[in-house]
Amino acid sequence: MNYQWAAEHLAFRDEVETFIHEWRTPALLREYRAREGAGGGPLLTEYYAALQQKGWMRMCWPREHGGEGQNPIYRFILVETMEYWGMPYGNLTYTSIAPTLATHGSEEQKQRYLPGIWSGEYTFAIGYSEPNAGTDLASLRTRAEKVSGGWRVQGQKIWTSLAAQSTHIWLAVRTDPDRPKHAGISLMVIETGSEGVTIRPLPTLSGLTTYETFYDNVFVPDENLIGPLHGGWEIIMHALNHERVGLSPTGNLARNYDLLVEHLMKHAAQKLQDPVLRIRLAEMKMEVQRHRALAVCNAVSIARDEMSPGLASMAKVSGSELRYRMTNLAMDLLGRAGALTEAAGELAPGGGRQESTWRASPILRFGGGTNEVQRSIIAARHLGMAR
């Protein structure tokens, strides 16, 4: 029993921080925001190349899949540190699609896609959700019919985030309507520019845009099927698993706290002496520490190679709900200025970070498996409650 980070872990954290301070320019952050998290801009391309060179993108992958086989705790440290500083460290293409391709793709598919992913040339949008298949993903209806040399896809997806910035779509389709729900699903890669693909932007409350994508008789060649026919469900579950170690990091919550206090110190020194305000901050600090406890428990458990879906769900629920509560309180403490957006410039405390995070907070509670589903997972998998 030892609650200290090992020296090599702290050294790695420091190395990451040094790297961040070298690269974290206002211009880079601007480009990152303008591209809504997608890679491909000139500064981001350079930055991602540097990240690749550091070996940090795949350091925890198994060697046989092109990684360095490092303990996943390194990934956790990377994610926490990057999140604290609000720096990009790879979107789902790197963190979910690439490892899934490396595991389930054929040799030919690996060679076709992975180098482009590493270089930043390829970005994948994920096409799982449909208007009537959200939490209940297995009821998806987009179907692929076998034709000579490939498939014809017909259907509609929502929440195909980054579709407009992507080169490919990672698509879940129903290849056998007669099998039970989970059993008739397959995974395919579609090029975004394929004939019959339509992309419609959907602005969201967070300010980011997501996309609805329509597939009208889109032809997908046989070689774009990933994994076994009708074996898509397992791959989807596998892909969702990849980010469990850095799920719901404490970094950005901690940063939120630090920026709030920094703002108060600079602009409201007198208010900061108010005992009630200080108690609110103390409660906030306590809640962040509580979340951190769950995030670390989850990471350490994964690093020990244990399957602990209950801990991952706890971190997910805790972090997503705290994000709402904490920004909500922060705005109250800031008063009317707390509602000013980034566009209000200097008057917006901390660049409007509390306001924008509050606005974006719903998605983490229902996305990636609703918190209701997560709580039932905790009951079943962590507590062993009969279902």
């Binding site: 969201t204 305000l277 709402y324 909500n328 509602a339 719903p362 609703t370």
Partner: protein, 363 residues
């Protein structure tokens, strides 16, 4: 105790609702949001219908109603998420009516009710504290200084500005916005309502009331803001109930899941208690017996409730409610912005805290 609207009020509410549903589509609201402006055309139509005058005596062309009727109007406007300065103008007009002194006040009130004038309060300064006003009363060369967080400042024809006279006493001054010595800088905010930082550089200002009027203005605006919060919560819930009744997951409507029912029940409890507290407070204001503590307690309660309510609405809507094509977001962003307006929960609790030793009559 009679919690139902009487027949007259039911008719009024139905008429206003019908009018707004016909005149104010959510698409129109989105357009105003994008352009960062108030819906002045709709405002003029609302005034032309005579609705704005409802809370005022018939001598002023009104409906002999009271502050509760002002609350009903505010609720209906908030239910459509319309970008109208309804709280700002009603609070200003009620202040002019109850505390305005001199011909200037009388004229401005008449013009306001007929829709010719549009006065909005300009109280707060950089510190965001109703008790810490530093602006000095206008000298010979006019009013000089800044006001912050002025809602609908650019849409207004007049600002009701608080300033301290030489005795340090607060008073209310009218400034016409066509005065060249007045500059507005937009403050983009969560609620997407037009808001400004205003600089007065020697603007002409006429005194229309003393500290009583200022205090009354804050109380009335604070209570009317509760009606906005109430409508936002109610709109979020009714949309959520309708959605969960039809949206199916795992082969059955969302509303049949225990967790969904319980979330919705919590929303409903917040809303029912909020409705009671809001109208009880407006009623007390009508009768001139509302204490600062009562108004603050109500505002604190609703400001605490709203974020949980609207965010639960989002949780039950999932992705569908997060997309701005869905109308749900209006009530989320307007609502939270209003939680901070006219005293946040924290600020209002501070007022309640002053009187914790006072024994309340619970019946």
């Amino acid at each position: 105790m009679e919690l139902e609207l009487g027949e007259t009020r039911q008719l009024l509410r139905a008429a206003v609702r019908k009018f707004l549903e016909a005149e104010c589509s959510f698409e129109r609201v989105r357009e105003c949001e994008r352009e960062g402006r108030a819906d002045l055309k709709l405002w003029r139509a609302l005034c032309a219908q005579g609705y704005l005058a409802t809370p005022f005596p018939s001598e002023l062309g009104g409906g002999d109603g009271g502050i509760k009727d002002a609350g009903l109007l505010v609720e209906e406007v908030a239910r459509r998420a319309a970008l109208l300065p309804i709280v700002e103008v009603l609070a200003s007009a009620l202040t002019l009516h109850h505390h305005g002194a001199g011909d200037d006040a009388t004229t401005l009130l008449q013009q306001t009710l007929s829709g010719e004038a549009l006065p909005v309060p300009a109280l707060l300064e950089a510190q965001d504290d109703f008790d810490r006003i530093e602006l000095r009363a206008p000298a010979a060369d006019g009013l000089r200084g800044e006001k912050f967080f002025v809602d609908y400042a650019t849409a207004a024809s007049h600002h009701l500005v608080t300033a301290r006279d030489s005795d340090g006493e607060l008073a209310l001054y009218v400034v016409a916005t066509d005065d060249a010595a007045l500059k507005c800088e937009a403050l983009p905010n969560l609620g997407r309502t037009p808001q400004s930082r205003v600089r007065y550089d020697g603007a002409r200002a006429r005194r229309i009331s003393g500290p009583d009027g200022v205090a009354f203005l804050v109380q009335v605006a604070r209570a009317l803001t509760c009606a906005q919060l109430l409508a936002c919560m109610d709109a979020s819930l009714s949309r959520t109930v309708a959605y969960t009744n039809v949206r199916k997951q795992f082969g059955r409507p969302l509303s049949t899941f225990q967790a969904v029912q319980h979330h919705a029940a919590d929303m409903a409890m917040h809303i029912e208690s909020s409705r009671f507290l809001t109208y009880e407070t407006l009623d007390a204001l009508d009768r001139g017996v509302a204490s600062e503590e009562q108004v603050a307690l109500t505002k604190a309660s609703l400001s605490r409730a709203l974020p949980d309510v609207v965010m639960t609405g989002h949780q039950l809507h999932g992705g569908q409610g997060y997309i701005e094509e869905n109308d749900l977001y209006f009530f989320t962003i307007r609502g939270k912005d209003r939680c901070l307006a006219w005293g946040s929960a924290e600020e209002c609790l501070g007022i309640v805290a002053r009187g914790v030793e006072q024994k309340a009559r619970w019946l």
